[in-house]
Each structure stands twice: as C-alpha cells, then as structure tokens.
Symmetry: C2
Subunit: 452 residues, 2 copies
C-alpha cells in the first residue's frame, strides 16, 4: 500500500526541527509550482525558518519560484544579512526586481552587506526603469578580447569552464582593446575554426544591439522579428552594459498581459495575492470601487430625472438593469478586441475612424438582434407592443453606441497616454448606462399614451 | 527636407507592378509589428499578390509575423501549390498550427504538394493535440550517433554546418545504435574534450525529457523550474520525437493568457480580428450575448415580482442598476484574483473553503464601506434614512455574496472541468443580480411604512 503524504504536512513537520540536508532533499524533486504552492501556505515565520535553513543558493532558487510580490514581502521582513546572502545567489535582473520594490532604507542595508561585486552591479542596475532593456538585462556573461586566438580563447574558457557552465547565456561577448563592444562569438565558431585564427576574424561584428532605454514593447517586437537567444545592451559609447535574454522578455510579456487583465477587472496597484494583509487587499480594491460607485450614481441620476415616466409604467424598471448590463457586455467585447489588436500591432491608436466603422457594422447587426430579443420578451410579458418597441429600440441604439465607444476608447486613451486597461471599462459603462437610461425613458415618455 | 513616405502607400505602390527584388528590399528592414500592421491593412487580393511575389522563404517569414488566424485564412484562399511552397519554409510546429486549422480537404491538398520529407513530418505531427508537447515540438534538430569520436563529430558538423546555422536549437542530440535517445551534447563539450574522446563518454546521459502528451501547463512549469533552452520529447520506446523549445512554450503562454482575457470579456471561439468577415465577428459575439440576455431577463424577473413595492417607492428604481453593477465589479475583482492565483499555482481548485474565508473578510470591509457610501447618497438625495438603510444594507450583503462567489466559482468550475475564464462572469452576474434585486426589494417591503 502506498501511503500518500501531503507535502505541506511533510514540510511543516520538517520545520519543527529543521535540518539543512533534509530540507534540501525535500525541495530537490519539487517543481516550480509546488514550491510556490508550499511557500504560499506557510506563515511568515515558517517561511523565514525555511529560507534561513536552506543554503543561500537553494534559498535563492526557492525565491525565484514564488510570485515576486511575495518575495519582496519576505525580503523586507528578513534580517538584512540573511537577505544579502540569498540575493547574492540570484541573477542580477532578479536582484534588482526585488530590491527596487523594497523600502529604500532596507534595500540600502541589504546591498551594503552583499558581495562587493554583486552590490556594485545592483547599484548600477537599479537606476534603470524595470520595463526597459536596462532593467531587464543580466550582467552574468563572459567577455573576451578580440585579439585572442582561437586556441588562446579555448584555453581561457577551460579555466573559466565552471563559470561558463553556470551561465544561462551561451554566447561569448567580444570587446576590442578600448573595451568597446566588438561582436559576438558562438561556441560553434570555435569548433569550426583552426586553432591559430584570431578571434577578431571569426566574430559576428555587426550584431544587432539595443540601448538601455529600449522599452519592453520594442524588445517583444525585436525577439518576434529575430530568432536570437539574447541581445547585447550597449551605452552611448558602445560599452557593453549587459544582455537581455529572450526568455526574460517573454516572461515579462506574460506578466504584462496578466497585469492588464487584472487592471481591467479592477485589481489595481499590482497583483493581489490572498496571502497579503486584509487591509492592503481591501483598500486596493476599494480605491477602484469607490470611483465606480460615484460614476454609477452619476449615471443612475438620469433615472431620477424621469421618475414620472417610470411611475406611470413601472414595468420599465425591470428593463433598465438589463439594458445597462447588456450594453456593458457588448462594449466590453469591443474593448477586448481593441486591446488585442493594439497589442498585436495590427491597429494604431490614430485609426479611430477605421475602427469605428468596423464596429458600427457589428453594432448594427447585434443591436438589431438583441433589440428584437428584448422587445419580444417585453411584448410577450406585458402584451404591449409599444413597450417592446421602446425597450428593444433603446437596447438596439445603445448597443451601437456601446460597441462604438468600446472599440474606440482604448485607442483614444492610448493616444492620450492613459492606460486603456484601467480606464476603458469605467468610462464605457458610465456613458452607456447614462445613454441607455436616457433612451429608454425618453422613448417611453414619447410613447406614454400607448404604454398605459 | 525629409519626405516621410507612408509605408502602406509605398507597399501598395509596389504591388501595382510587383518585383521580387523590390519587395524583398522593402521588407528587409521591417520589424515584426510593422509587417503584421501592413498585412492587416491589405485586402485579400493584395495579400496574395504580395506573398506570391516574394520568395517562398521570405513569404514564410511574413506568415510567421502575422496573427495565426489571419495566416490560416490566407492559406485557405491560396492555391494549394503556392501554400505548399511557403509552408515548406516554415518550422514544423508552425506548419502544423496552420494546417490543423485549415479545412481537412484543403490541408490534404497542400500537404500532398509539399516536400515529401516536410509532408511526412506534418502528417506525423498533426495528430498531436496543439497544446501538448507533441503539438508544440519542432523536428528540426541534429542527431548524431553516440559511437562517434569528438573529431569525427566535428568533421560531420563541418559538413552539415549550413544546416546547423539555420537551426534555432543549438544542442546536439545523441542516439545509441538502436536509435534510442541517449543524451544531449552541448557545443562547449566538443570544445573542451580531446579529439579522440568518444561522444558516448561526454554526453549528458540523464537529461530530463518529456512525453508527447505533456500539457502546456506542465511545460510552463517545467521551464519555470529548469533553466533549459529546450527539452527532448520521446515516445514510450525512448525514440526521440522532437524538441520543445522554451521560447515556443513562453509564446504559447502569452497566447493562453490573452485568450483567457478575451473569453472572460465575451469573445469566444478564438481571437477576433477586425479584418475577419462581419458575419463571423457579429455571430461569434452574439452567441455569447444571447445567452447573457436570457440570463439577464431571468435575473430581472425578480424585479417583476416586486412591482408593488417598486411603484410605492419609485426612487428604488434608481438604485437597482447601481447595486447590480457594483456587485458585478466586486465579484469580478475576486474572479480575477482567483484566476491569477490558479495560474500561479498558489491555490488549488479544492481549496474552496480557504478562499471563501479569505474573501469574506474583504467582503465585510468593502461591503460595509460601499453600503455606507450608497446609503448616505440615498439619504442625502431623498432625506429618508430608511431608504439609506435599505439600499446600503442590500449593497453591503450583496457585496459579501459577490466576492464569495467571485472567489470560489472559478475554483469550482476548474474542478468540474469547465473553463473558468468563459463561465465565471455570466454565472456570477446572474446570481448577484437576482440576489441584489431580491434583497433591495425585500428590505424595502419590510420598511415600506417608513419609506413613504
């Protein structure tokens, strides 16, 4: 009989009397998602106990596999010296990702206790924006002089073999005598070239490179265009600053798409994990909700101006939430398509008119169908054909308005430098609610004689 | 004076009298997003004209840079022989991605005109599910025998150098005499080893490998855990089937997150591009909207049952859409956090109770604040404190319900094998609408004497 032991219980047992070897063995066969799962189910004390009882290198691996916001919280709570030991073992881009989110005074305390070389790298890198080539690059790679011969370089590589094996960058970077970036050498060119060849003669000299200010979007596009493993980052004087890896750009792209989704659903100020303190979670959500409730009250005030119509035909009150909700759905579909087309690059923010025309046709079809559905529903329920025309007509027109706005608002916001993921939804629903209530109650006012 | 020429006009001019060389020059300096933009602004005839006037290799590059659904449409409209020429030049995973979406009879016609070797690969690969290792792997890589010596292998590599340079996989795959997968050799091991060493003695024999049925989620986790460039895919008999590249997995992960977002906003059946035919776009959106309008009518029927209360206190009609919309917002925030935590792996579908408890606390805080805001708004507007308690109390309770459902429904759907991105929203809003209307109108019924 196989006894299945719950890994979480197993880990908690191990932490009762933690031993470095047993913990290392426990984590040796764990996949990234299991590590993330286990860590997020420990309380902060146990997280600390665990990390300080692993070797710094193993602790660094654990830290790389948990969500970044959790890693930041843990580092903030650790002693600076424990944090420094672990951070020493992480790649430079992740050191900086974490330290730039930690409070400045804590970060300074940690950096001052790190290896001098690592600390110098961090101080240099932390100045770059996180979503630029400077913020995404790593500084762990091997540099050789272009004046070596192939055999000399092979000998040097053999000496530095242990370093090389640890690197994730398998290209070799070559600089000239002035220290300026000269080109890239691939391992196979060492294999294919005679021993006395000068490195200078076999490098790829005119490799594509980027400046440190290159944005994430540009890098995504770069790696979409070119099938490279990484791209060198240089400064204005052609000195090599670092290397941006394709995998880091793609991982950041996944993150960006996820964050946009969270924002569009009203999770603002970064990701929320349920392990965060309740007040942080509640207040972040509230900051967005409280703007929305005010916008909602403004929109609903349209109803207040038409109370006479409404009291005359109370059945209308049933249809107001339907028209509001359905217009929101239609508009959000158009928002989603615009956000998708913007991210694919197949539409530019200035093409507002073109997108509007493309949405209008869909709006006409879907508005007509939805209007007829709602109109028929109203007719069969109340046996009043005028009511059917009032609510159906209002939904039809409001659907056309909603898809027009939904398609174009993200483009206009993007053009205006406002984050469309965050602002499109509230703007859309406020306007379509107001218009939907206005259309329904105005049409009803006109047809009042036939509705009673 | 610099004259800026719009690239789209320039391309259309070139297509008036297309020349292979001029078109190749035009595309030579274009980034992926520019190519995607230009292609999506040409009509189908011009797209065809362009692709058939480029060399098949250049046309393949263009096809790789446009959205996949567009590539599928274009291939469907081309002659089978033009399509075969272009597909011959694409990596095996992208050949299969496109051909598996084309109508079976068209795909068969194209495959039969492709290079026999490419065609055999496609026929073999097309049987795998697209989001498994079998569907994601490429078959372009170099295989060597473990019985070669280092010098023999270097000589062989020199002969196949042109092939090697074209590959995106820089590992060398080694098989034993029976043809079974034996291990991986990295280029640097050839550099570091004496010429007469047997390959068998320097390969990494116990590399991690995956079966063809390994899912995308497992692969994402695999590459999160291990810093590899690619992973070999083997069959049950240890024969090497292909290699899954980290970059392909990450690109697929970006796609998956984007698709989930589109689905949650009601774009179903794959991505929508505005270049698709209007009827396709309208009917896909409608399929989701028509389910929603029915759910909406069901929810709103709750209002119909309380018309007496509503006609007595017509002001309530102003608050019903607000309560419906705000509960939807609060619930969707919880849905977004659950979807995020599921994808990070920090929560498992069975942890419904734990998530519910974590949402309850946020719901209590946010429900109280939002209820007070709405209650105060109602009081100041109508000067009636009972109205404030009725609508504030209803919103408070309904917010608690909404976050409870929003947090747990995605987990329950996932456990039940239903796609939570698609179904969470409609289920959530229908239930919270019904509950919100019921609570408001029931409370109002109880307090009727004080509301008049």
């Amino acid at each position: 009989m196989t006894v299945l032991i719950d890994p979480l219980h197993q880990l908690r047992d191990l932490l009762e009397d933690p031993s470095r070897d047993e913990l290392a063995r426990f984590f040796a066969d764990k996949q990234a998602h299991e590590v993330a799962y286990l860590m997020s189910h420990l309380n902060r004390d146990d997280q600390m106990l665990l990390l300080t009882h692993l070797t710094p290198a193993d602790a660094a691996l654990v830290m790389e596999e948990i969500p970044e916001s959790q890693a930041v919280d843990i580092v903030s709570d650790m002693t600076a010296s424990d944090a420094a030991d672990i951070l020493n073992e992480m790649p430079s881009d992740e050191q900086v990702d974490i330290l730039s989110e930690v409070k400045d005074v804590d970060a300074e305390a940690i950096i001052s206790l790190m290896d001098p070389e690592e600390a110098a790298d961090v101080r240099r890198l932390i100045r770059y924006e996180s979503d630029t080539a400077g913020g995404l690059m790593v500084t762990e790679f091997l540099v050789f002089s272009e004046t070596s011969s192939v055999i000399g370089m092979v000998e040097e590589l053999k000496v530095r073999r242990a370093d090389y094996e640890k690197l994730s960058i398998k290209y070799l970077y070559i600089v000239n005598e002035a220290g300026r970036f000269a080109g890239v050498l691939q391992m196979q060119d060492l294999v294919f070239s005679p021993a006395d060849t000068l490195v200078r003669d076999i490098i790829i000299p005119d490799v594509l490179k980027v400046g440190h200010h290159t944005t994430l979007d540009e890098l995504i596009d770069f790696f979409h265009t070119y099938d490279f493993y990484g791209v060198p980052v240089i400064d204005d004087n052609d000195f090599l600053l670092g290397v941006v890896l394709r995998k880091d750009v793609l991982e950041e792209a996944v993150e960006q798409v996820s964050m946009e989704h969270l924002e569009s659903q009203g999770i603002v100020g970064g990701e929320e994990l349920r392990t965060m303190p309740i007040w942080t979670r509640a207040s972040r959500r509230l900051s967005w909700l409280s703007i929305n409730i005010i916008l909602n009250m403004v929109a609903a005030s349209v109803i207040a101006f038409h109370q006479d119509t409404l009291s005359a035909v109370i059945a209308l009150a049933v249809f107001l939430p339907i028209i509001s909700d359905m217009s929101g759905c239609s508009g959000n579909q158009a928002v989603a398509v615009s956000m998708r087309e913007l991210s694919l690059g197949v539409v530019k923010p200035k093409e507002v008119l073109r997108v509007w025309m493309q949405e209008l046709s869909v709006g006409l079809i879907n508005g007509t169908v939805l209007g007829m559905l709602l109109g028929l529903g109203a007719y069969f329920w109340q046996g009043n054909i005028a009511l059917g025309f009032v609510v159906g007509g209002a939904l039809c027109l409001n659907t056309i308005l909603a898809v027009s706005l939904g398609g174009t608002v993200p483009l206009l916001l993007k053009k205006g430098g406002v984050d469309p993921a965050l602002a499109s939804g509230p703007i859309l629903t406020t306007v379509t609610d107001m218009a939907g209530f206005f259309l329904t109650l105005t049409f009803a006012g006109w047809a009042l004689g036939r509705l009673l």
